[in-house]
Symmetry: C2
């Protein structure tokens, strides 16, 4: 299993639950914001609120990393920033390649959230010869023929696929063969990779479909409540209503 954790003594060694790992970047972002405001310490309650999670959950998450807090006081912001960064591997430099320089690939190349967290776009790669040589976000686009040499030269281990769905598996195979062991896939395709390679998938239309599901449910409930209490016929089908929403926000990303 790629992302799965094998038999690991979940005690203080290195057995950090996957759900906790997924929240660490969230904490890190909130802590970075506090750090920029020169806030020295923060309580679990405050930080949890800033990160949008439960404070008990946050404390339990941190307990997997170690006892980095001080009872009665809270957590040292700078120290925690460093500890989480180190745990996530962000104290190192991670060269990444982006394959498929369409609208989305270009958007990612321009995205500032990468560089500030240890990620460096080593190269932009596209199959279109007409794109090769052009500059996107200040980085030259290279032809896909150079993929293997680029990965090898720069020691790239993380690849981002933003190609059309049809080309994704082919690109994935070449990335893996060249030595990439982590892939972030934006193409609407289920990638098959050998063991030892991690794939994370982001599908924008899936997110919207999940929203549509809940939206439909809310509309149906609003409609049902109109039966008991007649309403003006010109009322729009979408009523805010004070029904309790489904479940706030749940991370929608799934490994595999």
């Amino acid at each position: 299993m790629a992302t799965g954790r094998n038999h690991r003594p979940a005690t203080r060694s290195r057995g950090i639950p996957e759900a906790t790992v997924a929240r660490l970047p969230l904490y890190l972002r909130a802590l970075t914001a506090l750090s920029e405001r020169s806030v020295p310490t923060v309580s679990s309650e405050e930080l949890a609120s800033a990160a949008g999670v439960n404070s008990a959950k946050l404390r339990k998450d941190f307990s997997y990393l170690g006892s980095y807090g001080t009872r009665g006081v809270g957590y040292d912001v700078e120290y925690l920033v460093y500890q989480i960064s180190r745990e996530l591997g962000l104290t190192q430099d991670w060269p990444v390649v982006i394959v498929g320089i369409g609208n989305l690939g270009a958007a990612l190349a321009n995205y500032g959230g990468f560089a500030s967290r240890g990620f460096r776009v080593a190269a932009l790669i596209d199959a279109d010869p007409a794109l090769a040589g052009r500059q996107v976000a200040g980085i030259e686009v290279r032809h896909v023929d150079e993929l293997e040499s680029i990965i090898d030269t720069n020691g790239v281990s993380i690849g981002v696929i933003t190609t059309p769905g049809g080309a994704a598996q082919q690109v994935c195979d070449r990335l893996v063969a060249a030595g990439v062991t982590s892939i972030l896939n934006f193409a609407p395709t289920v990638l098959s990779v050998p063991d030892g390679v991690d794939v994370r998938k982001v599908d924008l239309s899936i997110e919207l479909q999940i929203l549509a599901f809940h939206e439909q449910r809310k509309a149906a409930e609003a409609l049902a409540s109109e039966v008991s209490e007649p309403l003006a016929p010109d009322a729009t089908p979408r009523g805010p209503g004070r029904d309790q929403g489904p479940d706030g926000d749940i991370p929608a990303v799934m490994p595999a």
Copy 2:
């Protein structure tokens, strides 16, 4: 058996677990591909493989929707496509607005996966007056001043936020006040919304950070195995950079 399933499942949204809802778009995509190849029926095993999930999980997921399969045969592709589409609310038209027409907003506007699934970009909105009137993906960009009237006129209930983090909450508040009840947030900000409003969040840098964590772990394990085994030149995963390993670093700021 226990749950009486009718033509019109009265409480169909009630028993569907969130995890199942999140997978329905996955099944739908695989089924659509089969449908385009004119495949009449598919077994849970085949479909599960195409969707990248476990077959038992798929069958259990479908069991929440009803008994749509035929034992000994499998599932009727067309019928299942319709049932899932209806369940997700994709048989209706969902107008959406995209606020923040930077690189990412433009990429989303051009994204083909929306229109094919019942989503229609009703408007592109940006705060920059210089952008207003320009065409992006064949759609005119409107100024944010028109946000409320656009939402009202088009009956928009789903909004996509692709603004910088600083503007996200403000935009969110205006969307909600104007009647939007579902928000897809790409800004690196924790949005606070009233009950009844759904927020889903996509953070590209978070995904990369999770990959980095696993990548670091793999590198550490490979390093550890090199101790026992002299060298396996072909199987050595590459190290990220030439930087120091995770345990050799010293915290930049140490408390006490």
